[in-house]
Every structure is written in structure tokens, then in C-alpha cells.
Symmetry: D2
Subunit: 363 residues, 4 copies
């Protein structure tokens, strides 16, 4: 049995929903500009009424997008990608009265009461017990290795420590990662560790700051640029370990999004933020589980574009799991406050998280 709840579709024969009008649309007045009253999507399953009791479930949804409804085809599109004249669904109610129904209870257990729900709503802190969150995560990862799409979103800290970097590489090697989303720094520090055993000049095992170690990451970037690509550099420099190399070996796609903080950047980093969003969104669409580690920027970016559910090829609707692993209650709260309802925070150091995780996954 899969380690997640079964989805219950809404009962569209319910009187209020049976009486619902079809959803209305308005044409986009210009490329990237929405008609007034546009409906913005949540990350819950949402249905649009075509009329006559025919409701369409949005596939590949995400937060803060809009619906383009043309004929019987419903697409979820980021506002900036809407084209002039496309028919945008309008209406800001969620209960069907405008032909839009946001289904917030589809994954609830049948017997679950309001009180049960309340019981689990306490917000996590560093003192929250995480034992069960871990056990659930192990189950989900074991299931999704073969039957899902596991997306990792990594901040650079995971490469700053020998043991966590090794653990991440092994997790990739064992098939638990179907896509890696990160920034220039993760890749740079991972390659610095491979070439110099340091991260920003500090030994990743002993913590010693090496003399002139601050040159290491600049040298790494220069070496990769000299080779022309990360692939060629890894081959040419004889790199035999690390996170990026594990991805190349397993042919796991890596999307590196640029930022204004970057040195370099490395070849392959996507420096335009909209292009980077598009490249990340390909994996967010397919994700069944996302694990975001020690990165506020990337975790929020991916959280924004990851739906709360996925429609599988056979039509099954399943939840998408989203884990944020970070040291800071503030960051976990920030994600929760933005409406990433399914986000589950584990407040800890990513090094320990990675080491623990690999220990449990390898069995």
C-alpha cells in the first residue's frame, strides 16, 4: 500500500455544486496581462465547471497561476506566460458559486473530524518531535524511488561537510533523486570539495582554514570555465566523488539557477530568473516528493511552483510531499505562511539530516 492517503473526489451531486454555473472566462488583454477578476490557483486540487455537471480537475497545478480554459482543455499557466487573447478563468470564490471549486479535503481520512485536524495543526519548532516525520519520509522515499519523482533542492551547506556530502552522493547513487535543483554555490562548493577537500577554503572534515584557501573556489570556477562545462571538467580533472558527479553518473538532471550572489557563474548555470523558473518548473510539475535543504531562496521558489497533488498517468490523484529541512523557525514559518500548505518542516542541521537519512535508507 502506498504510504499516503487515497484521494476522495468531490461529490458534485451535492446540491450547491449541482447548482453551480459554468466558470466564466475573459480574454487576456495583452501578453502577460490578465483580465480583471482573474482566478489565482492555490496548491489544492481545483475543479473548473464546464457546465452540465462536467468538472475538470486542473492537472499540473501550482500556486498563484491562472487557468486558461479553451474548449474542454484546462491549462495552469503562470501569469507572465499568458498570451493575448487566451481565455482566462475569472472568479475569486472557491466554493463553486462561480464554477470554481477548491477541494481542500480530498486527502483527509474519511473518519477524520475537525477536531482531528486541529490536533495536528500545531506549528513545528525545534522542540517538536520528528521521529514519525522521519519514518514517514523513509517510507515515501522507498516508495517513490520506483514509483514517483523525487526532487531535491539543495543549499550549499550540504557540501560543506564531508559526511553529508558523501551521504547525498550515495542517496543519488542509490536512485533516490530524480532531479536536483540548486544554485551556483552548491555546484561550486561540491567541486571545490572534490578538488581541494575544502568549502570556501575550510577543510570539510577538520574545519581548518587553509592558507590562501579563499582562492580555492575561484580556482574551481576558473578550471570549469577553462574546460568549458562541468561534464568536461569532471572528466578532465579526474573528479571521482561528490554530488554533481553522482548526478552525471546516474543521468539525474541538474538545474542550476543563477543569482546576484554568484561568483562565476559556472557554465550551465541559468542566469535569467524566468528561464530558470521554467527549467525548474519542469521538475516541479512531475514531483511527487520534494526535499528542500538549507536554502531559503530555492525552497521558496520551488515551493511556489510545486502543486499539492499530482494526477498520475492512470488518473490517480496523489499528494505531493514537500519537506523543508532548515535550522530556522523563521524560514519554516515563512513557507507555511505563503500557503505552501503541504510543506512539512524539519528543524535541524542538514548535515545530521543527511547522515541520518542515508543510514536509514541503506538499511
Amino acid at each position: 500500500m502506498p504510504p499516503f492517503p487515497t484521494y476522495t473526489r468531490p461529490d458534485f451531486t451535492r446540491p450547491d455544486l449541482a447548482a453551480a454555473p459554468p466558470a466564466r472566462t475573459e480574454a487576456a488583454p495583452r501578453d502577460g496581462v490578465l483580465p480583471a477578476g482573474f482566478h489565482a490557483t492555490s496548491n489544492h486540487p481545483e475543479y473548473v465547471h464546464l457546465g452540465g455537471g462536467r468538472w475538470l480537475l486542473a492537472a499540473e497545478s501550482r500556486m498563484d497561476a491562472v487557468f486558461i480554459l479553451e474548449g474542454n482543455t484546462l491549462r495552469t499557466v503562470e501569469p507572465r506566460l499568458v498570451m493575448e487573447g487566451e481565455r482566462v478563468v475569472v472568479g475569486r470564490t472557491e466554493n463553486g458559486e462561480e464554477g470554481i471549486f477548491v477541494h481542500t479535503t480530498g486527502f483527509d481520512a474519511p473518519t477524520e473530524t475537525a477536531e482531528d485536524k486541529f490536533a495536528f495543526r500545531s506549528r513545528g519548532t525545534r522542540e517538536t518531535p520528528f521521529s514519525r516525520s522521519y519514518d514517514e519520509l523513509y517510507d515515501i522515499l522507498r516508495h517513490d524511488r520506483e514509483n514517483g519523482h523525487i526532487v531535491w533542492v539543495l543549499g550549499p551547506a550540504v557540501a560543506f561537510d564531508r559526511d553529508s556530502r558523501d551521504a547525498m552522493a550515495r542517496i543519488i547513487g542509490a536512485g533516490y533523486c530524480h532531479a536536483l535543483l540548486a544554485g551556483n554555490a552548491l555546484a561550486t562548493h561540491d567541486l571545490e570539495a572534490a578538488l581541494f577537500h575544502t568549502g570556501l577554503g575550510q577543510d570539510i572534515y577538520t574545519q581548518a582554514l587553509l592558507p590562501r584557501g579563499h582562492y580555492n573556489h575561484l580556482d574551481v570556477i576558473n578550471e570549469v570555465l577553462r574546460h568549458g562545462s562541468m561534464e568536461q571538467a569532471i572528466a578532465g580533472l579526474g573528479i571521482r566523488d561528490g554530488i554533481i558527479r553522482a548526478c552525471l553518473e546516474r543521468r539525474v538532471p541538474v538545474v542550476l539557477a543563477g543569482s546576484i550572489r554568484d561568483d562565476g557563474p559556472l557554465p550551465g548555470v541559468i542566469t535569467d530568473s524566468r528561464q530558470a523558473q521554467d527549467a525548474m518548473r519542469i521538475h516541479a510539475r512531475r514531483a511527487t516528493t520534494v526535499i528542500a535543504l538549507a536554502t531559503q531562496l530555492h525552497a521558496i521558489a520551488v515551493g511556489n511552483m510545486t502543486p499539492g497533488y499530482r494526477v498520475l498517468d492512470d488518473g490517480t490523484v496523489r499528494p505531493v510531499h514537500f519537506y523543508i529541512v532548515d535550522m530556522s523557525e523563521f524560514i519554516a514559518d515563512k513557507l507555511a505562511n505563503r500557503g505552501s500548505a503541504q510543506a512539512r518542516a524539519i528543524l535541524t542541521n542538514v548535515q545530521d539530516f543527511m547522515v541520518n537519512l542515508w543510514h536509514n535508507l541503506r538499511g
Copy 2:
């Protein structure tokens, strides 16, 4: 008297420096690729020896750039902007022995002893006394309003509170801001506050979450896109307050750098991270004081590109002040650990910081 120390030039008649060889250069092998052994700049004043006792001080320096030396002209250039064949200074010592001298004590008081320096090196925490830091900051801002270039780097939190948003707008109006560097979110939330009196749907005065308030920032973005630009939107929508409007009114340049977290983005946001770095660098070069508020991403980006000193038009060398105002010791430490030696952290809430600051500046 200006509120900062006088600069003392190195004594190049000192035997070790008098004996220094001229700096060596190597040609860049390809656009964006450096020769082996390249010298990376710090944010201290650095001198390059031309030979015969002639030393050039790098103007417009920054961290982790390289020197291009052609004839008697010394330029500080980011590695990615180096062109094939340009002569890059090589050498990784800092004491003159390869013709490169990093002058770390130029701003020390003449009588200052090693013990004095030690005395001030204790790292700040939330319990550090900040009274004098504030008094110094007021003096510097009063001086630099007429005689310097004050660059503000703003995270969105400054727009989430009525009083801090007002204070920032007044500070701009009073001439204490020569350039504003921020992201899409700051501008969006500032305009949302102008139109709806909310930030992400929460009233910026009462804290009340408004029904359907989460639409506000999407509506703001859509309105601005509909108008075509922030300028046109501010005029067309009759916006009369806020940070962005204050900048437009005072003709203070605003650089908005995009990120993968952005909704929209607003027109005018620079979505390519390298172009954004170039646009930000124009102001970082000229900065005499930088104040970075509640933004890890932008603070580190600007910290990386801001020199520790500036050579004024009359040849005077003065320090560049860099303040980081944030709630988190971690972020302040991170900046300090990256070598932003001149960075001074004030650990507090930006709302209180802004209100306090305006209260003191307006006298």
C-alpha cells in the same frame, strides 16, 4: 571634520617594499577564463608595483575580482568580464614580494596598538551595545548626504510595516539615499501597501489578514504590467506614498534584481543575474556608505561587490561604511566570514531601526 579616519598611504621606501619586483601579468587565455596564478582582489586598498618604485592604487576595487594591468592603467574587473588576451596580474602574496601590496592598516589610528585592535574585534550579538554604532551612523549619513553616495539595499520587510515604510520614504525624501538596490518583492509590497494598505494581504498597520488579501499582490503586479511601467502605474493609479514613489520623485536610481522567487516580475526588474550585477555594481563602485536591511541575498551580493574604500575625485582615500541590519546572528556572521571586513552588523528588527533612524535624522 569628516566622521571617519584619515588614510595613511603605505611607506614604499620600507626596505622590503623598496626591494619589491614589478608585478607580473599573464594574458587571459580566453574570454572569461583567467591565467593560472591570477591574483584575486580583497576589499582592502591594494597596490600594484609597476617597477622603479611606482605603485598604483586600485581604484573602484571589490572582492574576488582581478587586476588588468595595461601600461600604467590598472583596472579591477570581475573574472567573467575579462577578455581574451588582457593582461591579468598574477601572484598570491600580499606583502609586496610579487609586486602586490594589500594595505590592511591604512585606516588605523596612528597610535593604535595591536591590543587596541583586538579590543574591538569581539563579534556582535543581539546583546552587543549599539548606542555608539547608531551615533556614528547618524554622523556618517549627515556627512554623506552632501558629500558621499549612500546606497540602500532593502529586503521586503521594510515595506510590511506602516511606520517603517513611511520612515524610509521620508529618509529618501530628505536626501539620504542616492541609490536603492532591491528585488521584485520590495517594489511589489511597497506598491501593494500604497494601493491596498496591505503586505501579502496583511494590513500593514493592524496586522489583520484581509479576506482574499492574497490577491492583492497579484493584482498589483497585473496593474503595473497593464500600465507598462512602475512610473506609469504610479501616475495612472494615483499612488501618493511609499518608497518607490519617493525614489521617482527625488530621481533616486532604483535597481531591482530578479530572482527565482519572483511573481511577475514587475516591468523594470532585471531578470538576468549578470546584468543585474552589472547594474548594481555601478552604485557599489560609487558608494561611500551602504545600508543593507533584512535581506540575505541582496546584502551578500552587494557586500561582495562593494570595496572597503573609495578614491574620491581629489585623490583622497576614504573608507566605505557597510551596515547590515538583520535579526539573525547567522547572517551577520556569514557576511563577516566572507571577508567583508568593514561590515558592521546591527542586530535588530528593521522596523525599529527605520523608525529610530528617521527620528534621529530629522532632528
Copy 3:
């Protein structure tokens, strides 16, 4: 009009409450031991049914205490102070069905709906707007200076900075403090500042660490012990400023509770935690407003013993305001999670908080 809502008593003619049985009691089996099924108090107004429609409101309540009901007298007593044979109210329901009614809506505005309440329930973070919280606080303090009992709970950080220490002393001098609860460290650092202008050896204005400055706090403690009391030391050493001296001058009671972290402690510090709780409770009972600054230990201790309301001499029931000012979401959450429902967190540095507050109060 007082700056807080009017209290609405429960409607005991409501059918369910009209049908309520009298509350039951059981004898305490031994000093400090409760009968099974004891009722534990919350910090909401609670009523106990004597029978015949006569309900008693608990005066001087607090969280996690019990009710002793003898005849028509209802006392709220900490479990450890219950004496063998006393009649303890039993019953764990809150809706009247066992004769106990917890009135959670007494301070709600009459027109307030469930949705309104939800709207204000978002948890504060460092990005929450605090403008209105400040305005309300100023109003409350102005009101309670004459018409209430303002209790300050201070961590040592308030004495580490010249300006915040001065602000606190002035606030006391201006009558805005009716009792001061703190630990040994606050008093020690305040007196160290008076004698040496340092806090733990660091200058409270310049941040300079003074040579052998670590002796300062030990010398202060020794001097006070030599004089025999803080009063005598302040007179004998000619201390003319600071928080403790302001309290002595205004005859504001100071309760200093000891802890295992203490050096010394100073004479007057209550080293037994139960005696300290008893001494603190005297002021918590009378409090109409509590402001806890930068102290996790004392804030939680006082939060536990402060009721959410007070019955004034004329029978009026008013809310007790409880402000926690701290840098850490974790601590604010911790207090909120413990049921201190009325606690309002302001996430900022106490130095700025104090300076801002005094600036506005002296207005």
C-alpha cells in the same frame, strides 16, 4: 475610554449553563498532593457553580493552579501550596457540564465573528508589522501609569547598552513601572554599568572590551556584599544612575530571583525558586500590564503565573496585557504554545525597543 475592551459576563441563563450541576470538590489527600481529577486553571476567566445559578468568578487566577472552594469562597492556589484536607474543585470539562465554565470570549467585541477572530490569528514573525502594537502599548502604558499596575520583567541585555539602560531608568522615573522582576544578572550588570561603564567588561557605549574588564562584575558583586545590601552599596558607592537606583528612588519593588547561573549572588536575591515564585506572584496577581524583555527564563515564569484578566476593586473585569519583546521567534512561539493566550510578541532588539518606547512616552 480605557484602551481595552469591555468585559461581557457569560449568560448563565443559557439553557446548558442553567442546567449545570454545582461543581464538585474532593479533599486534598496530603499537603501538596491533589485529588484525582482536579481541575487545572487556565488564564481565561473561569466560573465555578455553587448551585442554584450562583456562579463565582475566580479572582487572581493563573494557569495550572487549582481552585479551593470552601463555602462561598473560591481561591486559586498553586498545587504545591494546597494543604491536606482543603476542598479542591474537580472536573476537566470547561463548558459548565461539571459546574466549571471557562469563558474564552469575554473580551471579544460584540460584533466580532469567527472569521474576524481567524483574521488576527496569524503568528507573528520578524516580518510582522508592529506599528499598531506599539501605538496600543503606548496607550496602555499611559492609562496604566495611573490606573493600573505595570510589571516589567527584564533580562540583562537591557543594561548592556547605554541608551537602553538610560531609557529604562527614565521610564521608571516617569512612573511607568510598578514592579520590576529580574534576576541577579540584570542587577549586577546595571551596577557594573554604574561603576565602570561596562557590561561584563565591555564598554556599554563604545563596545570596547577593557583590559581585565572581566573583573568588573566580580568586583561589583564583592562591593555590594561588602556594603551588605544594594541600597547601602548604591549610597556608599555614590551610584547616581541606572535601573536599580531608579527603582529605589521611586520605591518601586524589585524582586530578584536567583538561578544556577548566578555569580554571587547579590544580597537580596531570592535563591529558593519557590520563595522567588511566591514573591513574583504577588506582583503577577496585581498586574494589569506585563512587559517581558529579552529573558526566556523569567518571561516564561511570569507568563505562567499571570492571569489573562484582573478583577478590579470595583468589580470591573479587565484584560491583562502581556508583551514579550525578544529577538527569537522560537521563544515567542514557546510562550504562545504554553497557553499564554494573551501574550503578544514583538520581535526586535530590546535596545531599540527601549529607546523607541521612551521617545514616545516622553512625547
Copy 4:
């Protein structure tokens, strides 16, 4: 070979030390009052000169105590325990010139240079690599299980999670804990977990908040009080798991220090802070390794009283290891700033720390 450096005694034949005068003493003027100019101890090895080249090493030292020198006997005594007339060593220099020598380099490797030392001085953050710190800790614990005295200082968080509570109990059971120092809350929550599988009413595995779960910790306290002691309660209530029970079973001494935050407290909690300090100090004196988890109050208290070294029965001098495991850079910095030089911070969640630790210790 033991997993720590060999101690090198000072060379008292060095001219400056050979010329040192004997240390001076002054009589304490009154119980608990020190003579002016008293010498305060650090947590480095300190030697007192008796004259004639005879130097005594202080055994059982601690920070901020004084030396009582009587004849050839040197005792390290907390100021409050000094008795009238006792001879207190005076002098505030550390280099021998007043007959007091603080030996800060005794545990340095012979070949270690100033630059090496600098290299390791970078302050830890959540991004610091901890792999080697863990490996060292495992080695130390394996060594000290038989050949040392391991003191654990526990905050309540370790009992809030099923897996970390189990891990701690097993670590005690396996002999890796010679004394447990904690507060009332740790014991209360551990027993609540044993009786109800909750911590403050929240399931320690599932995170579910149980209805009326807030009564659990009050009921636990009442039950233990009813039984008269923790020992009797554990027997009488049939408690079979947990941290306190593991200590009783292995006859590991438990010191529970009271605080003003306590409910109850449980019988056995020492409510007077000076008596609690005395009871804790017995174990701090003997400690060879201290591990302080998720408790600011107790970690600082124990840090203050734990020497940086221990003189073993055979005269060998060895370092005392002091680990602080916490989520907050602020707390780690605070301990380091107080002079607990040997303190090593591991910034992580204690739950993961415990689970990782047990996994590695059990091999």
C-alpha cells in the same frame, strides 16, 4: 593512546618565571566577602608560586573562583563560600609577575604555530562542517566510558521525541553517562512520556496534540508527589522506559536543579540555587567530558563551574571536553564569549544528535 593531547607543564626555569615573587594573600574580611585585588580563576591551568621556585597547580579549578592558599595547600573556592580570615590569593596579572601563572598553552601540540592556532579559531555556525567533531566525540566517549567521568546536561527537548529519548536511555544503559544534570522539566517530561507517551500533551511520536493532554504533566507531577519520590513513583507506576529510569537502574546520580519556571516541582528537585550549584559542582569537578544539550540555563551554569582540565589521581593533567549542542548560534556564542574557551559548539537539533550518537556508539 587517549584521544586528547598530552599536557606540557610550564618551564619554571624560564628567566621571567624564575624571577617571580611568591604569590601574596590577604585575609577575607568577612564570610563571603573578598579582599580587594583578589585573583579570579580562569578555566585554564593556573599555578601559584609558593616561593623558592615551588609552584602549585590548582586542582579542581573553575572560572571566577578564588584561591585560598594556606601553607602549601591551594584550594579553588567560590567567592560565596570563602570564610572570614581565609587567605585569598591577590593579584590580577597572569604572567607570573605576581606569583600567579595562567598556562594557556599546556595542551598545544609541540609543533603548533600561532598560524595553526589561528587556523582553527573560526567561529562555528550552522554551516560549519561537523564530521570530525563527531568522530572525535565518539572516540572521547569510548575512552571516557571506562577512563573518565562523562556528565550530561539535558534540556527538556531530548524527552520530547520518542527516538531521542530512547537513544538517551540506551546511552545511559551502555555506561556512557556518569552523572545527569538537568531541571525539573526534563524529569517531568520524561515521566510524562513514560506514562502517557506525550510531552506537554503532544504525542512524542505522531506529534498529535491529545485532547486534555495539557493535564498530563500536571498529573505526572501529582502522581510522583503522591508516591513521595521519583524512585517510588517509577516502581509504583510500573514505569519501564525513559531517561530517569535508566539512571536509577544504572545508579547514575541525577541532580535536578529548580527554577522559577517549574511546575511542581517534583520531589528531589533542589530548589535553592546555591545548594543546586553545590550539588552540580560535585560532578563538574570530576568531569572529563561534558555534553550540554538544548539548555541555555543549565549549559551556562555548568560551563561556569567546569574546569578546562583535570588532574587525575596519578597526577596526569588532561583536558576536559565541553560540548554544547544547540540550534542557536547566539547561545553557542554566548558561552564562548564568557570565556568557556574549551567549549565546542555543535549546531543542530538534539533529536538528530542523539539518534546519530547512539547509532555510532553502539557500533
